[in-house]
Amino acid sequence: MKKILAVDDSASMRQMVSFTLQRAGYKVTEAKDGVEALGIARSETFDLVLSDVNMPNMDGISLIRELRTLPEYKFVPLLMLTTESGLEKKTEGKQAGATGWIVKPFNPDQLIATLGKVLR
């Protein structure tokens, strides 16, 4: 079973993402910000990390930058959840090592469909 780390400071989004992914057969671990996510990611490896951008303590882009430096996460898909107004964030995210992005708002089907590009 593929393991996904879902990072979002919003509990409702986190639950929605987590629920959707679990229904699609993934094992999901949740984290509420970058700091927590990084801690979890260090103790356990994941097949994919899905992170919001705007979060307290450590934002999604910093998280991706940190993760990419870890040997275990060199090739792991790191996706960010952004909004349509965050175009420049995508470039910034890619420079930090993000694999791709999912634009909010999205619905569960779009989420699952998008994951097919990087996780099979």
Partner: protein, 717 residues
């Protein structure tokens, strides 16, 4: 796969309301000038989360409204503009508006308040105004444009597509593509899922063994798609890698030259056009996704089911963990006890059983405490609404007020918290309206211009104390006394201490406001505050120094579910007196008892006269005690004074779980609830305040003090 999004609504509403509270708090810091670097980020994040969530869950009215809010916040955050007091006012109004919308939605009503349109227009005016002048485009317009260009691109694509039998896609990944987490293989698989296809792998770029870097990707693909898909769909597959990799999309039927003219191809070899093309893809892709999403959102049936008030509480994970821990121990104890009965009963196993029972008692108590802790919330839940209230009220009154919050982490039962909120608001309003002076008056009195209002909370014994402290003019005893006399609350010749006079403001039908102002004096007096607090088994008193300020002090029990009780007996009947009310219990010396005014006996106790209420008489029971010396007197504190309750005997002290009498039977005067004792009998819990009322004892506090004087006189006579 279908996911019912409505299951996440309540969480979204809860966190959105929390987010709005956080926004409000930070905005108020701005108006006080105490903001820090994180303030704007916190505000932005809250707006951003609400917008993201509302979009995802299909609350378009909220998403649309938050969008303008977020855009302005984003510009402020990026330093493009400074935050002004006009912005803060607008934001605060928007918060009210959003709260209204969310509350309406949570009860299944998706109507939009009228103020929304006005506020939105105001934000748009700000956004369009300056930014357009500077030649930048507001996000709103930008979005409009992206949508336009996307539609255009889609139009071109579909036009071009009409006489196409398929596409030839050349994919040359950048060498380090694997290190971005992208997997070319999956992308090709994704592409081939679009329809019939033919894949050609180009291996000619693989270097010699000695030069090969294992982490690099040297492969290229040429995919021929014989299907009905659009170019847009192909671009979407490569969206994430379009910048770094070469992707060439050609129509199979058309010739090379016309193709390039019709649609900007993503050809990296031509640097000039590739940049333009990349921009095109970047701008159009998200817009298209958005379109698709809007469709999905409208297609989804709106859940109109009226959501019942979920009335949930959020509990810290540590509390739940400790609970699980307790239950674990309980299970162990239970296992140990049941194991004892497997073998033969011996003297040894009896000892072990005793140990086990002691352990069980310990576990039960711990478990009880843990469960109670779950209901406890920090008082900041109530306090947090005051900064806004004080700001708005201060503005309305033309007073400068600094609000200081202390002890915000003091925990209190959720039910108590909900019920104390209104009385607190009243006391705070009262302090601002009647207590604190206008800046001119303050300066004239030699005080700093800004009035100080402190809300303080702390634990004291089994109680929570909440203080509302102002440094205003204090209560005016002369005015209060005159008013009380004219209202007939006290007689003209009554001798009252200043403290007792001040307590008169809590009497029914009392109001000192000379002119009824907009804020206080709306017919809800301090007496209502007092009775509300007493309904929670609490008490309120006031300390005041003329010219220096006043302190209102509320005492509340930590919880309404359990109380420490003193079991007492009258004849056959066992009652419970809340331990918090009891000051002392004593045997009466007949010499200290006298009858005042022929109504009831009073006990002279260390310089005070304490009225004696004979519980047996009030409840019409038959008492064992023939004279006052036969029983015991339980001295309780009530309304700032003391009353003695005469009982036959004191039994054990124990924690009792309160069962509502009102819910199970009827409201009974003098009784606040019932409980079940260890032996299974039902025992009633005495409501001291109501008992005193039943017994007909009035003005207890004045009674206590007058008594002192009477006694002194008696001594000299």
């Amino acid at each position: 796969m279908t996911v019912d999004l409505s299951q996440f609504y309540q969480v979204f509403f809860d966190e959105s309301l929390e987010g709005l509270d956080a926004m409000e708090a930070e905005l108020l810091r701005y108006s006080e000038g105490t903001q820090d670097d994180e303030s704007i980020n916190t505000i932005f994040r809250a707006a951003h989360s609400i917008k993201g969530g509302s979009g995802t869950f299909g609350f378009d009215s909220i998403a649309g409204f938050t969008h303008v809010l977020e855009t302005l916040l984003d510009q402020i955050r990026d330093g493009q503009r400074d935050i002004t007091s006009q912005h803060i006012d607008l934001f605060l109004q928007s918060i009210d508006c959003l709260r209204e919308m969310i509350n309406a939605l949570s009860s299944g009503d998706d109507s939009v308040p009228e103020s929304t349109a006005q506020l939105k227009a105001a934000f748009e005016a700000i956004l369009n105004d300056e930014v357009a002048d500077e030649g930048e485009q507001s996000a709103l317009e930008a979005e409009q444009i992206t949508t336009d260009s996307a539609t255009q691109a889609a139009a071109i694509a579909s036009e071009a597509h009409e006489n196409t039998s398929g596409w030839k896609v050349t994919f040359i990944p950048s060498e380090d593509i694997l290190m971005t987490g992208n997997e070319p293989l999956y992308l090709i698989q994704e592409l081939t899922e679009l329809g019939d296809h033919e894949v050609e792998l180009v291996t000619e770029k693989i270097p010699s063994w000695s030069e090969l870097k294992p982490e690099f990707c040297y492969l290229r693909w040429i995919v021929k798609l014989y299907c009905d898909c659009t170019e847009q769909q192909i671009n979407e597959v490569f969206e994430w890698v379009a910048d770094e990799s070469e992707i060439k999309i050609e129509e199979l039927a058309a010739t090379e030259s016309t193709k390039v003219a019709a649609v900007p191809a993503l050809n990296q070899q031509d640097t000039a056009s590739s940049e333009a093309a990349a921009n095109e893809v970047k701008s159009s892709a998200p817009a298209v996704t958005k379109n698709a999403d809007t469709k999905a959102a409208t297609a989804k049936p709106a859940t109109k089911a009226k959501q019942a008030d979920a009335n949930s509480i959020r509990v810290g994970i540590d509390k739940v963990d400790s609970l699980i821990n307790m239950v674990g121990e309980l299970v162990i104890t239970q296992a140990m006890l049941s194991q004892l009965f497997e073998g033969e009963m011996t003297a040894q196993s009896l000892t072990r059983m005793k140990e086990g029972l002691a352990q069980l008692e310990h576990n039960t108590r711990d478990l009880q405490e843990s469960v109670m802790r779950i209901r406890m919330l920090p008082i900041s839940f109530v306090f947090s609404r005051f900064p806004r209230l004080v700001r708005d009220t201060g503005q309305k009154l033309g007073k400068k007020i600094e609000l200081i919050l202390q002890g915000e982490s003091t925990e209190l039962d959720k039910t108590v918290m909900e019920k104390i909120s209104d009385p607190l608001v009243h006391l705070v309003r009262n302090a601002m309206d009647h207590g604190l002076e206008s800046p001119e008056q303050r300066l004239a009195a030699g005080k700093p211009e800004i009035g100080k209002l402190t809300l303080n909370a702390y634990h004291q014994g089994g109680n929570v104390v909440i203080e509302i402290i102002d440094d205003g003019k204090g209560l005016d005893p002369i005015k209060i006394k005159n008013k009380a006399i004219s209202n007939g609350l006290i007689g003209e010749n009554d001798e009252l201490s200043e403290e007792q006079i001040n307590l008169l403001i809590f009497e029914a039908g009392f109001s000192t406001a000379e002119a009824v102002s907009d804020l206080s004096g709306r017919g809800v007096g301090m007496d209502v505050v007092k009775s509300n607090i007493q309904a929670l088994n609490g008490s309120v008193d006031v300390e005041s120094v003329v010219g220096k300020g006043a302190t209102f002090r509320i005492r509340l029990p930590l919880t309404l579910a359990i109380l420490d009780g003193q079991l007492i007996r009258i004849g056959q009947h066992v009652y419970i007196i809340p331990l918090v009310n009891i000051i002392e219990s004593l045997q009466i010396n007949q010499n200290d008892v006298s009858r005042i005014g022929g109504e009831y006996d009073v006990l002279h106790l260390r310089g005070e006269y304490v009225p004696i209420i004979c519980l047996a008489d009030v409840f019409l029971h038959k008492s064992d005690a023939q004279t006052l010396t036969d029983g015991l007197l339980v001295v309780v504190e009530v309304d700032g004074g003391k009353v003695g309750i005469f009982v036959d005997d004191l039994l054990a002290q124990q924690q009792v779980v309160i069962k509502s009498l009102e819910a199970n039977y009827n409201k009974v005067e003098g009784i606040s609830g019932a409980t079940i004792l260890g032996d299974g009998t039902v025992s009633l819990i005495i409501d001291i305040v109501s008992l005193v009322r039943m017994a007909g004892v009035k003005n207890i506090s004045s009674h206590n003090l007058v008594a002192t004087e009477t006694h002194a006189q008696g001594g000299t006579a």
